[in-house]
C-alpha cells in the first residue's frame, strides 16, 4: 500500500486543518455540556425563542446550500448535459456532507436526540416537520448512494460499482424529487406561523420561494466551492464550465423576483416595505442579493472570469442565508422585553460542525477519486494561473503570460523515492515543486554510494531547468525525497511560447541561468567544505 502511505504523507496538517481540528474539539466539549446540563446551559434559546441560530443556519441554510448536489445531478442526468460531469462529484460530496452536518446539528438542537427514530415509527402526516424529517432521512440515504461510486472505485469493488452505475438514473430522479419536497417543505414549516412572521416574508408561496432560491443557490454554491477547492487543492478552475452553469441563475432568480413582486402587490403588502428596520432588511435582500446577482450573472464578462463568478456566487449564497434568517428568526416581531442573540457556545457548535465538514471534504479530496477528467477532452484543463504564483520562477506581471503557461502546465503526484528524471537524458519538461521535497544528485556510477548530492529542492523551486538551456540535456538526476506534488510544464511547448513571445523567452532563460548559478555555487561551497 505504498500509494496509500504516499497519500497519507501528502495530507499535510496545514495550519487551516489545525484550526479546524481545534474548532471541532471545542464543539465536542460544548456538546458534552449540552448533553449533561441541557440546551439552556449552552444557548440563549428560551421559551420566547424556541428556535434560534441552529434552526436558521444549520438546518435551513445547511439544506439550501446543499442544493448544488441535486441541481448538478439533474443537469447531468435529467437534462443529459454531460459537459457538467467534472463538477458532479464535488457537488454531490458537498450535498452529502451538508446533509450529514444538518443531522449532527439536529442531534444537538433536538430536545430528545436519542428519540430521533420516533420519526420513523410515530407518524403525523399533517405535520410539515414530519415531511422534513423523512426527507432528511431519505435524501441523505440517496446522497450516500450517489457518493458510493467514489468508495467502490477507490477500493476496486467492481460488483457494487456496477449495480450503483445501473441505478444512477433512479437515484437522480429520487434525489431531485426528495430535494424538491425538502427544500419547499422547509418553507412550508412557516406556513403554520402566519401571525408571527413579518408580512414581508410570510406568504402562501413560501414553499415555492424556498424551492426557487434553493435552485438558484445550488449552482452558486458549486461555483463558490469549486473556486475555493481550486485554491485549496491547487487545481484548475473550470471557469468556462462554471460560467455555463451560472446561466441558469438569472432566470430562476428572475422568476422568484417576479413572483415576489406580484405576491406583495396582490396582497397589498408594500406598505410594510417602507416602515421599519425589517423593511431595510427586505430591500437589502431584494436589491443586493437578488437583483444584483441577476444582473451580474447575465453579463458574459462576469461569467468568463473565475473571480467575478466567485463574487457573484457569494452574493447568491449570502442572499439565501439572509433570507432564511429573515423568514425564521429576524423577521419575527417579538415582545419588546425578549431578546435573543446566539451565545458563544451556539457559535462554537455551528463552527465546529462547519469545520468537520471542511476536514471531511479535504480527506475525501485526498483519498478518493473526487476530481475526474473532463470526459469530452480527456485531458486536464491545464492548471489555475493561481498556482503559478507559488513559484517566483513563473511570476509575471502580465496575466496573459501567466495564463499561457498555466494552460500548458499539469499537476502530478510523485511517490516517495521515485526517480523523476536521470542525468544525461533529454530535458523534456520543467518542474516546479509544489509540495514535498526533491533531491538533485549526480551519478558517477551505479549504486547509491556513487551518488553526489547536488542540492535539495524546496516547494516553489524549479528543477529540470536544462529544458530551457541548449542543448536541453539533463545535468543531474532528481528523486523524490518525500511524496511530492509537482507542476510539470512541457519543455517544447514552453520554448515555443518563448519563441512567440521573446520577452517571456528571455526572462525564462535568464531565470534559468540564475537558478543554475545559485545551484552551482551551493554545490561548490559544499564540495569545498567536504572532507576529501
Amino acid at each position: 500500500m505504498t500509494t496509500l502511505n504516499a497519500t497519507l504523507n501528502r495530507f499535510r496538517i496545514s495550519p487551516i486543518i489545525l484550526i479546524m481540528l481545534a474548532l471541532m474539539a471545542l464543539a465536542v466539549v460544548v456538546a458534552l455540556v449540552r448533553y449533561l446540563f441541557g440546551i439552556g446551559a449552552i444557548s440563549n434559546l428560551s421559551d420566547a425563542y424556541p428556535w434560534g441560530m441552529w434552526i436558521s443556519f444549520d438546518l435551513l441554510c445547511g439544506v439550501a446550500l446543499a442544493a448544488g448536489a441535486f441541481t448538478t445531478a439533474s443537469a447531468v442526468y435529467i437534462f443529459n448535459d454531460k459537459r457538467f460531469t467534472p463538477i458532479l462529484r464535488p457537488a454531490i460530496l458537498t450535498g452529502f456532507l451538508g446533509y450529514l452536518m444538518v443531522i449532527v446539528a439536529l442531534m444537538v438542537d433536538l430536545g430528545r436526540p436519542e428519540r430521533i427514530w420516533h420519526l420513523i415509527v410515530y407518524w403525523n402526516p399533517h405535520s410539515v416537520m414530519f415531511e422534513v424529517g423523512w426527507c432528511v432521512m431519505l435524501y441523505t440515504t440517496v446522497l450516500a448512494l450517489e457518493f458510493s461510486p467514489l468508495v467502490f472505485e477507490r477500493f476496486g469493488w467492481k460488483l457494487p460499482l456496477n449495480i450503483v452505475h445501473r441505478l444512477t438514473m433512479v437515484f437522480v430522479i429520487l434525489g431531485t424529487l426528495l430535494s424538491t419536497l425538502h427544500q419547499s417543505s422547509l418553507g412550508s414549516l412557516f406556513l403554520a406561523t402566519p401571525g408571527k412572521v413579518s408580512p414581508l416574508w410570510f406568504s402562501a408561496f413560501l414553499p415555492v420561494y424556498f424551492f426557487l432560491t434553493a435552485a438558484a443557490v445550488g449552482p452558486a454554491m458549486v461555483i463558490v466551492e469549486s473556486f475555493i477547492s481550486s485554491r485549496a487543492f491547487y487545481r484548475g478552475l473550470e471557469t468556462e464550465l462554471l460560467g455555463t452553469f451560472a446561466k441558469v441563475i438569472p432566470p430562476v432568480l428572475g422568476v422568484y423576483l417576479l413572483l415576489k413582486v406580484v405576491d406583495l402587490t396582490v396582497s397589498g403588502k408594500w406598505v410594510y416595505a417602507f416602515r421599519d428596520g425589517m423593511s431595510v432588511l427586505f430591500w437589502i435582500e431584494i436589491i443586493g442579493f437578488v437583483v444584483l446577482p441577476i444582473v451580474l450573472f447575465s453579463m458574459p464578462k462576469v461569467r468568463q472570469n473565475g473571480q467575478s463568478l466567485f463574487g457573484a456566487g457569494l452574493l447568491v449564497v449570502g442572499g439565501v442565508v439572509l433570507n432564511r434568517f429573515n423568514v425564521s428568526l429576524i423577521g419575527w416581531p417579538r415582545p419588546a422585553d425578549t431578546a435573543y442573540f446566539p451565545s458563544w457556545m451556539e457559535f462554537a457548535i455551528t463552527f465546529g460542525i462547519i469545520a468537520a465538514g471542511v476536514v471531511a471534504y479535504a480527506l475525501v479530496a485526498r483519498f478518493f477519486p473526487l476530481f475526474v477528467e473532463d470526459p469530452v477532452t480527456k485531458r486536464a484543463h491545464g492548471v489555475s494561473p493561481e498556482i503559478l504564483r507559488r513559484s517566483q520562477f513563473l511570476v509575471f506581471p502580465e496575466a496573459a503570460r501567466v495564463q499561457a503557461i498555466a494552460a500548458i502546465a499539469e499537476e502530478q503526484d510523485i511517490a516517495e523515492d521515485q526517480v523523476i528524471f536521470r542525468q544525461g537524458d533529454p530535458a523534456q519538461a520543467l518542474y516546479i515543486l509544489l509540495d514535498g521535497s526533491v533531491n538533485l544528485y549526480s551519478t558517477r556510477g551505479p549504486g547509491a554510494t556513487n551518488e553526489l548530492h547536488l542540492g535539495t529542492i524546496k516547494p516553489g523551486d524549479p528543477f529540470g531547468i536544462s529544458t530551457l538551456i541548449d542543448p536541453f540535456v539533463l545535468t543531474a538526476s532528481a528523486r523524490a525525497a518525500t511524496a511530492c506534488r509537482v507542476l510539470k510544464i512541457d519543455g517544447k511547448q514552453l520554448r515555443a511560447l518563448g519563441a512567440a513571445d521573446p520577452h517571456l523567452g528571455q526572462t525564462l532563460a535568464l531565470r534559468a541561468a540564475q537558478a543554475a548559478l545559485t545551484r552551482m555555487s551551493w554545490a561548490r561551497t559544499r564540495l569545498a567544505g567536504a572532507p576529501s
Binding site: D47, N80, R112, N124, E131
Partner: protein, 270 residues
C-alpha cells in the same frame, strides 16, 4: 366539537393568584427564583415550572388607572396548532376537550412552541440527556377531569371567575352575561371563534389585546400548512413522472443529435 371548556370572567378576577398556586400544587411544580421587575406579574412568563400565570395590566380608562388581570394558560384550541405540527403526534386533542401531551413520544423539536398562536408550550431548558427534557404546558387537569373533578384552578378560584362546564353552554352563558351587563363587558366572548375556537373562553372589560390576548383571526393557523401537506403526495407523484419524462426526452434528443452528426460524418467520408 369538544365537550368541556372553562369560561373565565376577568372582571371577577381579583388577581389573588390562587389558581396559579393551585396549579403548582396539583401538578407538583416547583417554585421559581424571581426578582422584582416592577410588576406584579411573577414569575415573568409561563415556563416549564409555571403552567398558569396571572398577568397584571394597568390601563387608564376615563382618566382613572385601572388594574386588570389575565389568567394566562393553554387555550386548548379546537384545532390545536401544537398538535397539528407535532411530527410524532405527541400532542393531541382529546374528545373531552383538553389538548394533552404524550411525553413518551416527543423528540423535542419545539415546533409546537414555534407554531402555537398563543406561545404557550414551554421547554425544560435545564435538563440534559439523563434528566430527559420535555415540553410543558397546562393539560386542563386531564387526570381530574376524566375522573369527574373540575380542574384545580377552577376549583380554587375564590371569586368564581373560572367556570368549568360544557363549552357550548359556557358560550351561551357568557353571551347572556354580556347581554345582561352590556356596559361592563367588551361585546365578545374571546375564544368562541378565535383560531377556529378554543376551549378556554374569556370575558373582559377592556379590549382583549390590552389584556394580553393576541389578535389571531378566526381560521386555525395551520389551515394552510395542512392543506399543503394534503397536496404533497399527489404532487410528488406528478413531479416524479415529470422528471422521468424529462430524462427520457433529453436522452432521445441527444441521441437524435448524435445520429444527425454521425450521418453528416458518413456523408462526408462517402
Amino acid at each position: 366539537m369538544s365537550k368541556y371548556g372553562m369560561l373565565i370572567d376577568e372582571t371577577r378576577c381579583t388577581g389573588c393568584r390562587g389558581c396559579q398556586v393551585a396549579c403548582k400544587q396539583w401538578n407538583d411544580l416547583p417554585g421559581e427564583q424571581t426578582r422584582n421587575r416592577g410588576t406584579y406579574t411573577n414569575p415573568p412568563a409561563l415556563s416549564a415550572k409555571t403552567w398558569n400565570l396571572i398577568q397584571y395590566t394597568e390601563v387608564e380608562t376615563n382618566g382613572r388607572a385601572g388594574f386588570y388581570f389575565l389568567k394566562h394558560a393553554c387555550m386548548h384550541c379546537e384545532k390545536p396548532a401544537c398538535a397539528s405540527v407535532c411530527p410524532v403526534g405527541a400532542l393531541y386533542k382529546t374528545t373531552e376537550g383538553p389538548v394533552v401531551y404524550d411525553d413518551t413520544k416527543c423528540i423535542g423539536c419545539r415546533y409546537c412552541m414555534t407554531a402555537c398562536p398563543f406561545s404557550i408550550p414551554t421547554f425544560e431548558w435545564g435538563k440534559g440527556l439523563l434528566d430527559q427534557a420535555l415540553i410543558r404546558k397546562c393539560n386542563f387537569c386531564i387526570d381530574r377531569v376524566s375522573n369527574g373533578l373540575t380542574p384545580a384552578c377552577a376549583k380554587t378560584c375564590p371569586s368564581k371567575a373560572i367556570t368549568f362546564g360544557e363549552r357550548d353552554k359556557l358560550i351561551a352563558q357568557g353571551e347572556a352575561q354580556i347581554r345582561k351587563y352590556p356596559d361592563k363587558y367588551v361585546n365578545r366572548v374571546y375564544g368562541k371563534d378565535e383560531v377556529g375556537g378554543t376551549s378556554i373562553l374569556y370575558l373582559s372589560a377592556i379590549p382583549f389585546d390590552q389584556l394580553g390576548l393576541p389578535r389571531v383571526g378566526t381560521t386555525p393557523v395551520t389551515a394552510l400548512s395542512e392543506q399543503v401537506m394534503e397536496y404533497t403526495l399527489p404532487f410528488a407523484g406528478a413531479w416524479a413522472a415529470t422528471l422521468a419524462g424529462l430524462a427520457i426526452l433529453f436522452r432521445l434528443r441527444n441521441r437524435g443529435a448524435q445520429h444527425a452528426a454521425d450521418d453528416v460524418h458518413k456523408e462526408k467520408s462517402a
